[in-house]
């Protein structure tokens, strides 16, 4: 499997570290209900199909990436810098 880093181009997946689902958002500090925090820390969907997940280009440009991957085929539909994804989300608020 190769991941097309937006900065470095296509690289072997051995250069990357995997974190997991990119969807969870940390609830607002001390205000969150225990159930919300439990959900954030432990509960994950396990889809057979497309998932957006966080990868870290550890052996390359040291950037966090959001990779859209199909869990059945490992086909990668898109890669974006996590920083850009976060900035776009902030701008959309």
């Amino acid at each position: 499997m190769r991941i097309r880093c937006p900065y470095c181009g296509a690289r072997d997946n051995g250069e990357f570290s995997y974190l997991g689902d990119a969807a969870p958002r940390r609830p607002e500090g001390m205000a969150a209900e225990p159930a919300q925090m439990f959900d954030y820390v432990y509960l994950r969907d396990n889809p057979a199909g497309a998932i957006r997940e966080l990868w870290y280009h550890a052996a390359g440009c040291r950037s966090w990436l959001v990779v859209t991957r199909d869990t059945r085929t490992h086909a990668i539909a898109g890669v974006a810098a996590a920083r850009d994804v976060a900035l776009a989300r902030e701008a959309g608020r």
């Binding site: 181009g9 072997d12 051995g14 390359g60 950037s63």
Partner: protein
Amino acid sequence: MPETEVAARPASSAWQPRSPWEGHARPGRHGRAEGAPGLILQPRGRSGLALLIAAPGRDTELGNRLAAHLGWSLPEPGRTRIAGERGLIWAAPGQWLALAEAPEDLRELDTLLDGVAAVTDQSDGRAVVRVSGGRAREALAKGVTVDLHPRAFGPGRTAVTGIAHIGAQLWQRDAEPTYDIAVARSFAGSFWDWLTAASAEFGYVVEPGPRA
């Protein structure tokens, strides 16, 4: 290194600069003995290297100051802008390696870039070897997962990657091809072992390295 050279050093101080390649690189012809050597390996001396990390949102200001005072412009991701032994090498988003003939040449960056970038001297932190020759691409392909074919990679390009599980940054200088490869100084010995093992079947020449 011959012992006579070591003995010739000034005795005034026990502390002497030492090339990271010293004790590893043996000048001369090695590997396959027949025919022209496939590679030339040249351990680089103590050139100036510094990592520049732009403060958030200050990339443009960083570029402006470097252009105004040094005539340098920031290369795009994956690119270098080097003239001779001076210039800039892209290293990561918002980060560049500055290159100069000597570490002293980069001292002014601290004050020049005050407030727009963090400057970290890497002159003694990285070991650089220059690899060239007709078989250089084939030898490097044994450990580099980046496609170095001229279609995909050429002069003015750089890659931060791993070579034989050793973190490395390489950049291509010319189409001969000539590559400079930088690894963390403490990995110089391990990297040299890999590089010479990969080069042996083609025959290679190690050029005399610097004293420090």
